[in-house]
């Protein structure tokens, strides 16, 4: 690949959203390359991710591949003393589950879902108008009802305040908030975080898993290959901005050039060390990073609650304050005391894949920043194991091995994380787990710009 004509687009991240974006770009006539961001090997194949939206299914004719996404059966917050809160894919089911706890909050949930829907519509339309990329003004309010006006108002508010408006029970608030940890970790106290929050709770992005056999991840990869995308084998090692475009060095020592960069997810952006410039970045994720912990068990684990099944996505986060504190500590570069955890079980229930979506990106010692050391990784894994054992019977007893992976960008000569390369020519699709819809939308914007010229 080295030395060739520069690519028009380099997609960073060998993940479903990356393949989808690259495929759409190549089909649109852009010379496109896809490069792994470097974290991909650390996530197991069964890890849940946001689902692919219907329009991408249509555009890439995914149904023809026979591939299927398996939605997770429920999102469950585990609490102390064996209690748990459930959210199901079906809203009605969720409401029924909630009604057992609190009728009022169940009613509020119905109202809240409507507001979330309106907020998503507004946010999308506003983002389009703001970025001025598609040239459209903010569309007239398609709903023009009271919920819509309220949703618009909520867009500048912290989502903590919005949740407090709807739900009386703090546990319900924490549970609803914990769903945003599945797709994207958004700071609950930051003004303007509600838009991203609404987006993370989009029913279209209900977490799905790719089983073995014909799965969507593989089908998307195939689409990209068929569309003529060059797929790099080695992960990005460093990126330099040049007069026109970027020079991207990969693990095999080769360098390729690309005019624009598109990170397929926040996670890939972090791993590759790039960030988007411009209006409305999401949340305050800049200083935080993600940590994966894989736990191998000697025995099959019983799912933690009677109603929960294997394919459930579990979270541990007891309150909004706890989530915010994790953000604050990540920013402080302080050791997190109660990091929120998202975890799931492998099919044979002998492996737990846990993710800490908000962990410090670097630590501060006497004002000097340093990256994660091997001790930090082990200590963090111990902490996660402890958090899991508090809520899950038998984890510590049957634990065989742990693997820790920190999603880190390039480091400088002192071993501290380098500042991310920020440029107008970098685009980042939202969502820690890769938002396929948004990645494709960003490519559409690019294609439109290229077509306009």
């Amino acid at each position: 690949m080295a030395g060739d004509k520069p690519y028009q687009l380099a997609v960073l991240g060998a993940e479903p959203s990356g393949f989808a974006a690259a495929a759409v770009a190549a089909l649109g006539g852009l010379r496109t390359v896809l490069i792994p961001a470097g974290w991909e090997h650390a996530a197991p194949a069964y890890a849940a991710r946001p689902g692919a939206p219907a329009d991408v299914w249509r555009r890439l004719a995914l149904h023809r591949s026979g591939a299927r996404e398996t939605p997770v059966s429920a999102c469950v917050s585990l609490r102390a003393e064996g209690r748990a809160s459930f959210t199901y894919k079906s809203e009605a089911e969720t409401r029924d589950a909630l009604a057992e706890r609190s009728e009022a909050d169940a009613a509020a949930l119905a109202e809240f879902e409507i507001v979330l829907e309106r907020a998503r519509a507004h946010a999308q339309s506003l983002a389009g108008a703001l970025l001025k990329r598609n040239g459209a003004a903010h569309a007239a309010d398609p709903y023009a009802d009271e919920a819509s006006a309220r949703a618009l108002r909520h867009l500048t508010q912290p989502y903590r305040a919005v949740l407090a408006d709807y739900f009386a029970d703090p546990e319900v608030r924490a549970h609803v908030a914990s769903r945003s940890l599945n797709a994207d970790a958004i700071s609950p106290y930051a003004y303007g975080s509600f838009g991203a929050f609404a987006d993370a709770l989009d029913p279209e992005k209900w977490p799905v898993r790719d089983g073995s056999g014909a799965n969507v991840a593989a089908a998307l990869r195939e689409c990209a290959v068929d569309a003529g995308v060059d797929i790099g084998e080695f992960a990005v090692t460093s990126i330099e901005e040049e007069k026109v475009g970027f020079a991207v060095s990969c693990g095999d020592g080769g360098t390729l050039r690309a005019r624009k960069l598109l990170a397929a997810s926040q996670r890939s952006a972090r791993a590759a060390g790039v960030a988007a410039a411009g209006a409305l970045r999401r949340g305050r994720a800049a200083d935080a990073t993600e940590v994966f912990v894989k736990l191998g068990l000697s025995q099959q684990l019983q799912p933690p609650s009677l109603e929960a099944e294997n394919d459930t996505l579990f979270t541990i986060a007891d309150s909004l304050g706890e989530i915010q504190r994790a953000f604050d500590q990540a920013r402080d570069g302080a050791w997190p005391d109660k990091p929120p955890v998202v975890f799931e079980l492998s099919d044979d229930r002998r492996e737990i894949f846990a993710r800490a979506p908000v962990a410090p990106g670097r630590f501060f010692v006497d004002g000097e920043a340093r990256g994660w050391s091997e001790q930090d990784r082990q200590a963090f894994a111990t902490r996660i194991v402890r958090r899991l054992s508090e809520r899950l019977d038998g984890v510590d007893r049957t634990l065989r091995r742990t693997e820790v992976f920190v999603v880190e960008g390039p480091l400088d000569e002192n071993g501290a994380p380098r500042e991310a390369l920020r440029s107008d020519n970098v685009m980042v699709a939202g969502g820690a787990g890769g938002d396929i819809g948004e990645a494709v939308r960003l490519v559409d914007v690019l294609l439109k710009e290229a077509g306009g010229r």
Binding site: L126, L130, L152, Y191, G278, L280, D328
Partner: protein
Amino acid sequence: MNAERLSAARIEGGYDAIVLGGGPESLVAAAYLGRAGFATLLLEPDVEVGAITLDRTFAEEFDAPSYEHLLYGLDPRVVRELALYRHGLAFAARRLDTTYMIGERERFSLNGDLWRTKDALVERFPDEAGAAERFFKSAISLSENARHLFSGDWAGDLSSGYGALPETLQRLAEARGGGLGRRALSSVEEVAEAQFSAPELRAAVGAEAVFRYDCEPADDFSFLGLAVRLGGESSGLRAAIAYPEHGMTGLAQALRRSAQAAGVEFRTGVQLSRILIEWDGAAGVELQGGGQIRCPIVVSGLDPVKTFLDLIGPAELDIELQREATGRAPMLGAAKANVAVSADAAIAGEAAIRLGAPARFVLAGEAADIGRAYAAARRGAAPEKPIIEAVVLPTPVEDDRILANGVAISALVHPTPAEPRPDVRRKVAADVVERLAALGFDAKTDVISSETLFAGDLAKRAGVHIGSFAAEPPVLEQLLRSRVYGSMMNYAGFQFCGHGAGVGTGVSGASGRRAAKAAVRDFRRRRKAA
């Protein structure tokens, strides 16, 4: 007049308009109403009109402003239309120079005339001075473009409180702030990062932009905070940061004189029990003890909780407005610290301070420290390096000799917990004195007296809801809140200009002006219709 006599249960009339509260916005509203020919009565619950703007003696022989100590965005239309210069307003300094102390050692000064930033910085930051000047120019230019957002000029479309957001964003995105239009909603950190690289400068502009706001330099919308802060410069007053003669007391007195000249009558120590709402309009106020003062226009400059929940009552309110007014217990606020330093202290030799003139200092940590200070304050701990805006108050001098016993320093410290625990209070108070010592005195030997008051203390002292002293939400959120307060009041003849009715921090007069103008317009329209 005293409250005793009024407490007799009787009904008074003869006024066209009543203004509640004696803060600057209330005085502005009263003066406008008076000038429009309305017989106006201003009712102040406190013992003195505008106590919150007056100086207060905090130690023997030392006075300091009660809270606000500088002007950022006084609306020039208010100055002109109320003839404030004629009524005694004068500026001791219109473009106050600022000395920044960033981190441990870093120290540089910025010219108060931001158009000459380059000259001020060229020696210290030869490569960045030009970029820093361009940065300020673009911020001022964005401020010009966004003026309509924070000058209260949205009075025309009161019906669409929420719907204003897309239009607002659109306008901001279109604002050609030196190519910054698209960045108008970005974080200040991001905008600064794109323009210059000196971390000290970035920390300094970050500190300016988020000071007294509940958002960090890395948060979306924080750049707008800087644009609003430069309102005084962009509006034509040519006063980026101004210090009136005799401090804020000077401004309060000018406003008071202007109101008096317009025929406004004042009553102090008046205890209100409710605002009379009859049919769909304001009908006057009821006092504690049962007496009533009836009139067709009521403008409230009291805090929103007092106004909407206590005086009007939740039964009369739109649910959204209630939600807005009840708010949430604030976590962050700016603490007010006053320090008196003995005249012998080295501060007299400080090059940046010309005694007899005010001087402004901004102390802050490096960019990352500012974020960490927020995190600490939010969890109720003492922030390690909060942003401190310190004003060395003018001291009478003769031949380089201080005539008074010493020098008073007034400081606002942000972010701090709104109501800290006792140990945190002590730590913050000690830290503030310690850090202010960088101005050139010895924290152990030179301090005559010092006090630190937190948001909770200030609110208690002023007898208002704690929200009035809490950190402000970011500009966009403030704007929407102000529209909710404005648009939700469907009662003819009622207007609100208290805390939360305006955008930005500090005194501008814009919300008082808007409230009075709207009341007058509304009244005339109703009369015509009748």
